[in-house]
Every structure is written in structure tokens, then in C-alpha cells.
């Protein structure tokens, strides 16, 4: 079941630059999308979300973009900080959460 895909298992970005994490989905019934951040030995922490009626949502350094026609979601973090180093999961909702496989983001000081 690959309804939500994150094709980049890892990403390294210089501190201060923009981090862009990508996510693709196949199920057009998804109506709500979220990004979670996860540190080792902790649960996923909610970061930002977007409903299917919008194409952009911004919260501080985090912006999520939704392209429904392409079934594509992205998370932009700017400027990137060392504390942003973690695994990032996108997730999509129709009732339950369906998670992607995650992207490990490493911010290089």
C-alpha cells in the first residue's frame, strides 16, 4: 500500500538555507494533509497541516504547499536551523492517517 510516498529517504541542507521536503499521494479522496516531525525515541510531533480546499498554509518558518492536480505536497522550512534535524513524515487523511515512509533531514551547521 503506497498511497503516500516520500521518495527521498534523506536530505542534507546547510544551516540558514531552505529545506524542501516532498510527498506524493495517489488517493484523490484524501481531504486533509499533515506534516509531522519525529526525533528518535519520541512520537511524531505535529508541525503543520493543510486542507484540500487550500493550496498553501504558512506557520512561521514552515510553509506547506498542496498541488491537487499533481497530487503533490511539499514542506518548506526557511531558514533551516540545526534543531530541525529529524525525520519528517507527511500524512494524509480520509478518516485515518496514512503515513509516508519519512525523510531524514540533516541540517549542517
Amino acid at each position: 500500500d503506497q498511497q503516500v510516498k516520500q521518495n527521498s529517504p534523506s536530505l542534507s541542507v546547510q544551516e540558514g538555507r531552505i529545506s524542501i521536503l516532498n510527498c506524493d499521494y495517489t488517493n484523490s479522496m484524501f481531504d486533509y494533509f499533515l506534516w509531522y516531525k519525529k526525533y528518535p525515541a519520541e512520537g511524531p510531533t505535529f508541525l503543520i497541516s493543510i486542507s484540500s480546499i487550500k493550496d498553501k498554509n504558512e506557520d512561521g518558518r514552515f510553509t506547506v504547499f498542496l498541488n491537487k492536480s499533481a497530487k503533490h505536497l511539499s514542506l518548506h522550512i526557511v531558514p533551516s536551523q540545526p534543531g530541525d534535524s529529524a525525520v519528517y513524515f507527511c500524512a494524509a487523511v480520509v478518516g485515518k492517517l496514512t503515513f509516508g515512509t519519512g525523510t531524514r533531514l540533516t541540517i549542517i551547521p
Partner: protein
Amino acid sequence: EPEVTQTPSHQVTQMGQEVILRCVPISNHLYFYWYRQILGQKVEFLVSFYNNEISEKSEIFDDQFSVERPDGSNFTLKIRSTKLEDSAMYFCASREGVWNQPQHFGDGTRLSIL
């Protein structure tokens, strides 16, 4: 900030034994969930619970699994006869109410079946 709490953080159990994982969701939340993550794999949905009944369950959630909300604060996942392949991180989550609210997760219980 209110949070979801899970106990124990690590549970080691012999194969075939029953195990109960416990969760205290955020107090004003109405929807409750269990997910699991086998090492190296993605987080997978197990079950959702609303208004004292299961609202959705996955194929993983077979007759060996059950959930209960025994009082106004706890939400438990029971595995009746554990198997080696049940070894995973189990995450509890809760959501406030309306559909476009995020689920908030606990830090998980690592279940190790020997």
C-alpha cells in the same frame, strides 16, 4: 501544553502472553487511535475509536487485538496472545473533534516479544 502519555515506555513479554498498552489521551479529545511502527517500516494505522466503539480498523487489527476505554481518561490496547511479529513501537494518538484537526501522538511503547 496538554499531551498524550503512554505507559510503559518499554514492555518485554514472552511469546503467547497477553500484553496491555496504556494511553492517556488529551482530556478534551474525542477520537482515539492506535498506530504501530515495525523497525525500519512506516507508521501503520491499527484502529480508531469514537463514542465508545471502534469506528475503523485495519487488516492488522485481528481478533488478537482489542481496545477499551475503561474510564474517562484511559485508552488501552490489548494483545491477547503475542507473536514475534508484534514486536514494534506502538503509538497512541488523539484528536479533538472536527475532521480537520491534527492527531496528537504519545511517545510510544516499545514492545519486544521474546
